[in-house]
Structure formats: structure tokens, C-alpha cells
Amino acid sequence: MANVTPLEQEAVPAAVSSAVVAIMRAITVARLYTVSHALFQETTRKLHSALREAIAAQDFLFLGLAKEALFLNGVFYRPKEAHLQKFLRLFYLLGISYLLFDREISQEEVGSFLSLIAGSRPGQGTEISSALPREKIVRLSVGLLDYSVFSTATNVAARLARSSEDEVIWRQLILQPACAKALNLGPQQVRELLRLCDDVEALKAVIVELDAQIASGEQGAKARDLLGNFIQNLASSIEKVVPEKREQFARQVAALIDRVEPRLRRHILAVMLPDARKEEGGAIQEIFRAMSDTQVAQFHVDILREEGPESSSFLNLLRWTLDRGREPRLLLATIQKEMLRATLQGSPDDLKHWQHLEQLIIQYHEVRELDEAYRKEVASLTTSIQMNVPMVEEEEMERLLATVNADSIQTARGYLIIELVAQRNREQGEATVLSLIRAFGEILASLHREKDFRGIGELLRQLFLALARHPHEAPARETVEAALTADEIRELLDRLLEDCRSYESRESAAIAAICQLFPEKAGTYLLDVFADLDRDDNPKARWLMTTLGSVGAHLTRPLNRKLQIAPDSALPRLLALVPLCKDQRLSHVLGKLMDHRDHDMRLQVVEMMGRLKAERSVPRLAEAVLKRSWLASKKEKEVQVAAVHALAEIGSDEAKKVLTQVAREGPSDMQTLAKELLQPPRK
């Protein structure tokens, strides 16, 4: 196809140019007159009309804003007119890279947007974007993409296109949200779309290329929206030109998700999930629904790890999961299983993320329930008061009066502090946070004196979430930890554990949070409980194992002490905690336990030395494995085999040296094993 559409032009279409003139004029007026002034109202009205004209028959008006170019319908315009240049410069300075006007935008929304822009400073693009919902502007969005996305989109489009007209289309498909309706596709472009629809490898190649280009940009996370734009636009375009291919394309996307590497799969899924509060998910919704609870849980923990609990992707995902039919109880049960698995595998970092996710899901679910209950209460109370029901009024007055009594105020103060800490205000310095946490500590101590253990548990659960990934998390946690003594924590946990029956997530959430915030004190107490268990296969034992695993790094001292005094019956389960401590100081006590009278115990001790990767245990293991005896029993040989494996697992130079020695001069049957283990692992 011949190049007929210039990819760069100077003359911006008249309707858009007029709209831009109206925008600039209205911003000037907004700087000089208040919103109630007649002139402001009049200019807003004119701008609203100009925008409607520019949108014309389309659903949206998308204005891509680079420093010196306006991206419109796939074409870059480099205007000469002063008003257009000023317009581009203004939004460039604000850091806004596109404006997307919905055709249904109201005059009030236009007025509010003008006020926002007129009252903004350079660099406030992010704040403008987050102010939109607060100002009730819903039919206008602003983009904060890295400006390099324009070149990314241009590069990818140029590679995919066979002509400049093609290139215009590809650019729009990549850059412009919801552009399908506005596209005029020629036969060549329809053929290309159908090829992508039929050939999953071709689709994968395009997506991988786009992803690679995006990953090289500076703001990968936000630029990933392009992936979402692109796939959604492809789906809508196919639906427009060949409606019967819609479902096939959905299946291709599902197949594509299975074929790309996990990181890209997560990104595609995350960006393709539309806003759970507004839209139906189309094909992606089906994919999401088909995922098992384990896959969904894994998806959550990955996004949580990569983007954080406050990221829009994570919050949207949570809404999709919990507001759209997924049963929280089942999801939490899955998470508990994953936590146990991470514990047994000795992966404290994974465990930490799973625990965080568990608490977030519980909180989200609770908030939803509380909000629902509160809404009903509000409606019922308002009706009763309108109907002058004296008894309701008296009861409500009593309840209100109770809110000003000392106990209520103390608890309310605790929640107030949590709210302030959770704001993560950038200007909130460490000193302020620590002073708030100290005040919180006083509340905890006071509640403890009043024996309000449940109240303390709830407050600490909320605090745990507020501090997760907080800029001052470490010093804040230290300060909290000093608020209650070991004896107070022991009493608190003792009382809270009394109420536990099933140890399912919601029931044990407060205790889990306390353990995270007071790891050493809580760990010491829980170790005693764990050691005294009479069974290992009940929910309590599994919960204790996971919880102790999550505070493993703080267990060295108490575990060391406990391993020396615990009865034989408790030793196996205590030994299972050793790898989670990841502390070589436990080598000494393990060395002593290698002489335990019970053979199975000795074997477990040797295995734990390996899993602990305890270099300090190497001499002790060497001694066991190099011991030559004509009368070596079967049991001694089993210990030697375990010791060789442990040395291999430790893998340090010293351990390898011993293994080499064993391979050379150890007992004959150990030599073969040592040689095998010294071989580099096969790929």
C-alpha cells in the first residue's frame, strides 16, 4: 500500500484547534475570576460546546501531549500556532501526557477541571490525576505516562506497519484508550488483525516486543497500561469488523497468557482487568474466573510483592476477587496452605508476603461487611428519627454519650493514631511517626491494665497493616515492641489463644499480627506452646508451625534454650524450626544433639544442619562422616549418609573440602556418594 498519510503534520484539525483555543482562554479566565463569576460560567459553557464539537461522532477525544507535538488520531502534529504551543507547554510542565474527554462530559466537570488546572503548579500532574474523583470529574482522565512511550509506540508501530496508514492505526491501537470505534480499518489492516486473531505466536511476538520496549522506559509500571490498551483495542477492533471472531480472540489471549513468561503473564492480566467498580471484564473476566484459587492467590501475592498493597493493580485485583464472587474463606484456606508450604520449604520471605496478603484479604472482607452493616444502620436510624420513635432516639443518645466516655475515647485515639500512621504522608518525618507510636504504646499498656485483650488484638492487627511497607517501618516496629513486656505479651497471647477453636485465618488474624509486631516475645511464648503440643497433625499445630516460621529470624535464643531442655517428644517439631531461624548460632546445640540416644533424632539433627547451611557444623559433620570403624552399624552408616548430604547442602568451600576428602579417603560407600554430590548439578 502506498504511503498516503503523512505521519507528522502541522495543521491541527480545525475543531480540535478551536477546542484548544477555548481551553486556554478558559484557563486564563479561571485564574482571574472565581467559579461563581458569570464570565467563568460563560467561558466554561463555550469550552463545553467546543469540546462536544471536537468529539463529534466519536465516543472520546484523545489528545496525546508530547513536549512539542500533539498526538491525534495516530498522527503527530507539530503546530506553529502560539496557542497550541502554549497548550502543549502547559501540560508538559504539569507532567500530563494525555487528556481523554468522554463525549458525555458535563459542563460542571469541565468547570471543575478548569479550576484544577488554573490552580496548579508545574509538576503537579499526579496530584491533578488523583484529585479528579474528589472533584467529581469522572468523564475525563489524564495520563501520566513517561514521555518515552510516544517513541515506544512509534517504534513498535513502525515495525508492525506496512504503510504509513498502517502505522497510524497501530499507533492508535497502542497509545489511545478505547480507540476501536474511531478507527477506519482498510482491508489490509483487517487482514492483519485476523492474522493476530488466528496465530497466537504472531500475537505473542507483538506483545513481547511491546513489553520489551516498555520495560526499557523509565516508568515501566505506568507505561504497562499500553499493553492493556493494545490488547483491549485489538479485541474491540476484531469485534467491530468480524464479530464472530470475538470469542476466538478471547481464547487466543488465554493461550497467549499461558505461553508468555510469568512476569509478562502477570502484567497482561493485571493491566487487562478493567476497573472492577465500573466495567464488565469481557474475555479477561472469563480467564480470571477459570483460574483456580491457588492461581488467584499466587497472582495476588506476586502483584503485592511487585507493586505494593496500595498500588491500583493490587487494589483492583482484590476487588475483582472479593467483589465478584470469589469466596474469601476458600481463598484464605488456600493462603494458609501456601503459608505452611513456604514454612516447610524454609522460605521466610515468601511467608512474609503470604501473611501480608492474608491480613489484607481479611481486612478488605471485614471493611466490606462493616460498611454494609453501617449503611443499613444509618438508613434505619434516620428513618426512625424522622418518624420520631422515642425509644430509638433514647438508645441512640445513650450510644452517642458513650462515645465521649474515657474508655471509648482511648480506643478511638488508638485507631486515630493508626489512621495517621497509615497515611504515609511524605512530609511526616520519622520523629512524628515515632511519637505517634509511643502514644499508641501507652494506649496498649493502659488497655492491658484494663485486661481488654481483644481490644489490644484488634488495634495491633490494624497497626500491623498500617506499618507494612511504611517508610519508617523498622524504627516504628522497634518502638511498638518496647510498649509491652514479655510477660504482658505472654498473658495477652494466652488469653487470645483461649478463644481460638479452628485457627482459621480470621480467628487467628489478631494473634498473627501480634506475633509479627512482637516477634521475640511472642515467639518465646509460642515455642513453649508448640513444645507442649500433644499432636502434630491438627490445625493448631499447623498454625503454630507457620506462625513460628514467620518469626523464625527472632527465635534463635529461645529455640536454642528450648532445644537444650525440651523433652524428647517435643524435639522433632522444634528441630523443624531450625532452618527457619537461618542463624548459625544454633550449630552448637545441634552439635550436642548429634549425640542424642535416639537414632531418628540424630538423623533429623544432621538433616537440619544441612538445611540451616551451618558452616559451623562442618567440623562436626566431618568427624561423623570420616569416622572409620570396622564395626560401623547400619545406623551409623545412615548418619554418615545424612552427613554427606548435609555437607553438600551447606556447599561452602570448607564443606566441599571435606566432601573431597571423603571422596578420596572416606569409607568406601561414602566415597561414591561424595563424588556424585561434588558433581555440578545437571541442567
Binding site: 485564574r31 496548579s120 474528589r134 460498611d371 452517642l400 475515647i409 485507631y415
Partner: protein, 395 residues
């Protein structure tokens, strides 16, 4: 600058005028209108008034709470001497008497005759005058009308209420020290000042030294944040008293209400050119002031915890709306819901964020529509009852 000599002359004139009015009423009660003595008294009063009205557009006399105030000058000696008459005026609903330029002798005579008749019988002065407005085009008499709908100009009302304003201004002058140079917490001195301010206001309100209705029902177009703080404090305490809360709680609520907007007193960021529109920085400050205020008050030793709670919650609506956004909807504190009513009421009645003040009626209508959503329905019901008690819904 007012001339002290002129002030003294005026005071004598005002005192004489009030005595002439009472003298006129007495003469009319003893003699028919055509009697020379009655004629002399009424004529003399008319001459004095005419001379005054040639130079000024109106003359306002207030009879309220046992006091006589002429053109904002209180006359305690008259208050003592004329107590029975003032009390009788109050029962007739005669709290203000304004003579306007253009007053005729006949109009004055007919008004005094009507007043005398009412003094002897029962009935509301305002109601009776309202039935024949064409007969008294230059006289306004009745209850203190404190709104824009009154036939009095705003200047006249504000002049009559200068005492109240003076009081509010004195208070707000103190608050400049309280809210100035804010850091992360309030000093001991500032806490004492806040407590003293609240205690003084409470004493004044409880003792009726300044009628609550003046504080509640006058509009305060002054956008000054300190005036707003005093108004919200006074109105919150009045509402708390109306809800029969204990004095200790009333004072704590007052303290919270006085300090509710303290987050707005933190130094503003600089560097933006002034614009007519509210800037994004200002909006951000506004959205965040509950949090910043609560932080300051929590970090301040010696303040009750209620103050910080009020600072955080005073913009959160009963139905969970408003700001700052919370994790979950929670029951609000009584002190916060009381302050929220007073805060919004005062904001509606002042120049605020580029909006003109609403009249009392419009403000109440606006608030009525939001009972049960923005406002706690029971507390709002108390507020409405209080307004009614203050006599502002008689018309």
C-alpha cells in the same frame, strides 16, 4: 476618629430621646392626643428625631436582655430606671425600634398610640405593625431581625450588634497568638490560652452575658478563620448544652471545636502566583487539614483526646462520606458530629471559598436536606430545636 466631645453630646441626646419616648407614652396614657401636654411631649420628641434623621439615615434602639442600647451605646442607668417598661416591651416582642429618615409627626403619634394600646393589652408589636405596613413606612419595630431579609440594612443590624462583634473580635485577637507560628505541637502557653478562651465563652454563654441568639443567628460574613473558630466553638457548646451534656464534656467539646481547623493554620507552601480560583495546593491543604490538625493535637500534652478526634472527624459525614476517607465506616464521636453541624452552619453563613454567605433560612434549608446523610439525624434534630428555641423561626 470619633470626636470625644461629640460622643458625649450624642450620649446625652440618646438618653434624652429614650426618656422622651417614655414621656410621650406616659402623656398619651394620661391625656388624649389633642391635649396640649400630650402634644408638647410628642412634638418635642418628633423635633429631636427629625433633627437627628436629617443627618443620619436611621436611629436604632435595642431593648434586649433588660438592657437599653441606642445606636450601639448601652445605657445601664436607663436599664435600671426603666426595667418594668423594658420587661413589658420584651413580652410584647419589642426588642428593636428603628426610626428611619422621612418620619412624619402623624406616623410617630399613631405608632405611640398603637404601642400604648398593646402595652395595655396583649399582642406582638411586630405582628400588629405587619398588618398595617403602609401606616408606618418609617418605623421598624419588633424582634431583633438578624438576617438579610429584614427591612433593616445590614449596616444597621451590624451597628446594633457591634457589642457582639467587639466581643468576637477580642476573642479572635487572642486566637491569633494561639494559631500563629504553629509547629508540630502546641506549647503549654497556647494550651492555656485555648482553655481560657473556651472557659470565657462558656461562662458568657451560660451566664447569658451575650445572648446566644446573637451569636447563632447573625451572619458572620467575615471570612477570618479565627472568627470562624470562635463561632464554631460557641455554637458547638450551645448545642452540647442543648443536648444536656455535662459541663465538663461541654468544655471539652468546646476545646475541640475551637481547635477543629488547626491543621489549616500550618504555614502554607509558597511559590504560586495568586489566582482567583482555589489552588490545588490550597485544596490539598484543605483535604489534609483534618489529619494535620489531629497530628498536632495528639502531639500536644495537656489536651483532652477529644480535641484530636474532632480535628480528624469534623469533615466526615454521618453516612461515611466526606473526608478524610477511612478504611471502614465507623461510628463518629459525639463531639465530632456536634462540631460538624456548627462548622458547616458557620461556613454557610460566611464568605468561604469564594461563596457568598447564605441567609439563615437558606442555610437551614440546605442543612435540612442533608440530615441523615451529612449530619447525624439526632444531633441535627437538636440543632433545629435549638434554633427554634432561640426564636428565629417565628416568622
Amino acid at each position: 476618629m470619633p470626636n470625644p466631645g461629640e460622643d458625649a453630646t450624642l450620649q446625652v441626646f440618646y438618653r434624652t430621646l429614650v426618656l422622651q419616648i417614655t414621656g410621650g407614652l406616659r402623656a398619651l396614657s394620661l391625656y388624649p392626643a389633642q391635649h396640649p401636654e400630650a402634644g408638647r411631649q410628642i412634638n418635642s420628641l418628633y423635633q429631636q428625631l427629625s433633627r437627628y434623621l436629617e443627618r443620619r439615615p436611621s436611629l436604632a434602639i435595642i431593648f434586649a436582655e433588660g438592657e437599653v442600647v441606642v445606636e450601639n451605646i448601652p445605657f445601664p442607668e436607663l436599664s435600671a430606671n426603666l426595667r418594668p417598661l423594658i420587661e413589658r416591651f420584651e413580652t410584647l416582642g419589642l426588642e428593636r425600634l428603628v426610626f428611619g429618615r422621612g418620619l412624619a409627626l402623624d406616623e410617630l403619634l399613631r405608632f405611640l398610640q398603637l404601642l400604648l394600646k398593646l402595652l395595655k393589652t396583649k399582642g406582638q408589636v411586630e405582628a400588629n405593625l405587619a398588618m398595617t405596613p403602609q401606616d408606618f413606612p418609617h418605623i421598624v419595630a419588633g424582634r431583633l431581625s438578624l438576617d438579610h431579609e429584614s427591612r433593616l440594612s445590614f449596616e444597621e443590624v451590624s451597628r446594633a450588634l457591634r457589642d457582639v462583634r467587639h466581643f468576637v473580635r477580642t476573642m479572635t485577637g487572642q486566637l491569633k497568638d494561639l494559631f500563629g507560628d504553629l509547629t508540630v505541637s502546641l506549647s503549654e502557653g497556647k494550651v492555656s490560652l485555648a482553655r481560657e478562651t473556651v472557659a470565657t465563652l462558656h461562662r458568657i454563654l451560660a451566664g447569658g452575658l451575650i445572648p446566644m441568639k446573637l451569636l447563632m443567628c447573625r451572619s458572620s460574613p467575615d471570612p477570618d478563620a479565627n472568627v470562624h473558630a470562635v463561632n464554631v466553638c460557641a455554637q458547638s457548646m450551645a448545642l452540647a448544652r442543648h443536648l444536656n451534656l455535662e459541663d465538663k464534656t461541654v468544655l471539652e467539646i468546646g476545646l475541640g471545636a475551637l481547635l477543629h481547623d488547626i491543621g489549616l493554620s500550618l504555614p502554607a507552601p509558597r511559590g504560586q502566583k495568586p489566582t482567583a480560583t482555589v489552588t490545588l495546593d490550597q485544596k490539598k491543604r484543605l483535604w489534609e487539614h483534618p489529619l494535620r490538625g489531629a497530628e498536632i493535637l495528639l502531639a500536644t500534652p495537656g489536651l483532652p483526646d477529644l480535641a484530636a478526634l474532632v480535628a480528624l472527624e469534623h469533615h466526615i459525614h454521618f453516612d461515611g462520606g466526606g473526608y478524610p476517607k477511612r478504611g471502614a465506616s465507623r461510628q463518629l464521636n459525639l463531639a465530632s458530629v456536634i462540631t460538624a453541624v456548627a462548622d458547616i452552619y458557620d461556613n454557610l453563613r460566611r464568605n468561604y471559598l469564594g461563596k457568598s454567605p447564605l441567609s439563615l433560612t437558606d442555610a437551614i434549608h440546605w442543612m435540612d436536606r442533608r440530615a441523615g446523610t451529612v449530619f447525624h439525624p439526632l444531633v441535627y434534630k437538636g440543632f433545629r430545636a435549638m434554633i427554634k428555641t432561640l426564636g428565629q423561626e417565628e416568622r
